[in-house]
């Protein structure tokens, strides 16, 4: 087997692996096929262009893109700190920032309420000092999505930074570049693939966010009712609409993930 490891197309894969891989693939494809089969194609366009659907889609795009922008601004420095700065408690802090990936999102929503809610650690002060009230607002929905999605960006960028050849930075510094210049002109361009991959994953996760959003920001059309929330509520009254809306979410995510894969997510 060892000598054939360079062979392309992997004809030498163990049969058991092929079978298991097949089961794994079916496991992912079948639910999507189910959605497609159940899609009411005739009324699909009408359901899609209903004011409710357009409002939810628009809000979802605005909120998920805003969440991604915030995640890039805050997450890149965080990833850089984790990759480059040794400080006591780094492992713990790193674990805490990745926690939202495994935390049930509803728990994340409750945690956000205890921090940014009206009676929360920071929320009470925010409201008194600035009149800022996050729950039940679009800003609150963005906050919830950022909380759940940013870890995807942080770990991707951190991995990129760790895998980087440090000699480029050293060379730049030896040539007299200042710290900010090195970061801006050398480090960031070198981790660009990881940064883009991380941002895309983060955006896709934000787009699908449900639990933290409905718990922290509530559900109101045009303000906090993003696509996943609209799907959930439509499922109770209008399953056809729910399926069509799900399909749109799926299609948008799939197009972006496939489109970016070859350019940035694939092996170099």
């Amino acid at each position: 087997m060892g000598s054939s490891s360079r062979k392309p197309r992997g004809f030498s894969a163990p049969p058991l692996f092929v079978v298991l891989a097949g089961v794994g693939a079916v496991f992912f494809v079948l639910p999507l096929a189910g959605l497609l089969v159940r899609t009411p194609w005739r009324s699909a366009w009408q359901l899609l262009t209903s004011p409710e659907a357009i409002t939810a889609l628009g809000l979802s795009l605005v909120a998920s893109l805003s969440a991604t922008a915030i995640a890039v601004v805050l997450g890149v420095p965080l990833a850089w700190t984790f990759a480059r700065v040794a400080f006591p408690g780094r492992a713990l802090l790193r674990a805490l920032t990745v926690l939202p990936m495994v935390l049930p999102p509803v728990v994340g929503g409750v945690a956000l309420l205890t921090a940014f809610g009206r009676r929360g650690l920071l929320g009470g002060w925010l409201e008194q000092a600035f009149g800022i009230h996050l729950p039940f607002t679009t800003a609150g929905a963005v906050l919830a999505e950022t909380f759940v999605a940013m870890p995807f960006l942080v770990i991707t960028v951190e991995a990129g930074l760790r895998g980087m050849d440090l000699r480029f930075e050293d060379a730049a510094r030896t040539l007299g570049a200042r710290r900010w210049t090195v970061t801006w002109r050398v480090t960031l361009p070198l981790v660009r693939p990881s940064l883009i991959a991380g941002a895309v994953l983060c955006w896709a996760r934000a787009l699908g966010e449900f639990g933290a959003t409905i718990t922290f920001a509530g559900n109101f059309p045009g303000r906090t009712q993003t696509m996943p929330l609209a799907v959930y509520l439509a499922l109770q009254t209008n399953p056809d609409a729910a399926i069509v809306l799900s399909l749109v979410l799926l299609a948008v995510s799939l197009v972006v993930l496939i489109g970016l894969r070859d350019r940035w997510l694939g092996a170099s």
Binding site: V98, R118, N219, F220, T224, L233, Q236
Partner: protein, 256 residues
């Protein structure tokens, strides 16, 4: 590597979570009744049915009653999508009617309890809400159930009778979510069932809605067509009508 372990962990957790279906435990039985049933019940029944289920299991050793609580419309959607269970208890007639019309029930539903609405405010009533008319005040953060959920439809009816226009901050997917937002102090007021206010205890305060403006909600219950244990399902409903009413009253329900 860490990421890979993490994602394996997530996958395992998801798999486990998906496996919590109904299990027909055929335990040794003292009487004719044995096995287990799953009851799909409206969120507002959570506390009362929990108690009645425990009492039933004590009265019929060897039987197990599992509950799945959610908004009535969510439960109807789940049953229509093929969720396996034995009994459905709804917080309103229209949701029950949907299942009856879809031919998913066995026998006709019976009404076992009634409920009515109450305004709920955080303990201490910081915004001095005294009635439905106050809910229209600007600056007051009001949270209601979504119009598709029974409590949302009832709330809309009551507000219409009182001729009050409310701009809710959020339309929650079930009654417990409204209660949580008020109990946490995020919302200044909400409209829920009397029984929810009672169950929430000291965290919240209930403000009565006069009967002329209030809405009475009927709670129907029925055996599902695909029940795997019709005998036990019928026995539970019989027990509910005979012995469960006292418990329901204790939790604030009006008797049918």
């Amino acid at each position: 590597m860490k990421v890979r372990i993490l994602s394996a962990f997530v996958a395992a957790a998801l798999l486990l979570a998906g496996c919590g279906g109904t299990s027909q435990t055929a335990g040794p039985s003292a009487g004719a009744l044995s096995g287990s049933i799953t009851v799909f019940a409206a969120s507002s029944l959570t506390a009362a049915f929990g108690t009645i289920g425990g009492d039933f299991q004590k009265a019929y050793p060897g039987t197990t009653v599992d509950f799945s609580f959610a908004g009535s419309s969510t439960l109807v959607a789940q049953i229509q999508q093929g969720a396996i269970g034995d009994i459905f208890a709804s917080a309103d007639q229209p949701n029950m009617q949907k299942l009856v019309n879809a031919g998913l029930t066995s026998g006709s539903p019976s009404i076992f309890a009634r409920n009515k609405l109450q305004i709920v405010v955080p303990a201490g009533n910081p915004k001095h809400v005294s009635g439905l008319a106050d809910l229209g005040r600007s600056g007051l953060i009001v949270v209601l159930c979504a119009p598709s959920v029974p409590c949302g439809r009832y709330a809309a009816q009551a507000l219409q009778k009182a001729n009050v226009m409310v701009k809710p901050a959020s339309e929650e997917s079930d009654v417990k979510a409204v209660l949580t937002k008020v109990a946490l102090g995020e919302a200044d007021a909400g409209i829920v069932y009397v029984t929810d206010v009672k169950a929430a205890g000291a965290q919240v305060k209930g403000i009565d809605i006069p009967d002329a403006l209030n809405v009475i909600a009927d709670y129907p219950i029925v055996v599902l067509k695909d029940s795997q244990n019709i005998a036990l399902a019928r026995a539970f409903i019989g027990y509910l009508h005979a012995n469960g009413l006292k418990t329901l009253a204790r939790y604030g329900f009006l008797l049918a």
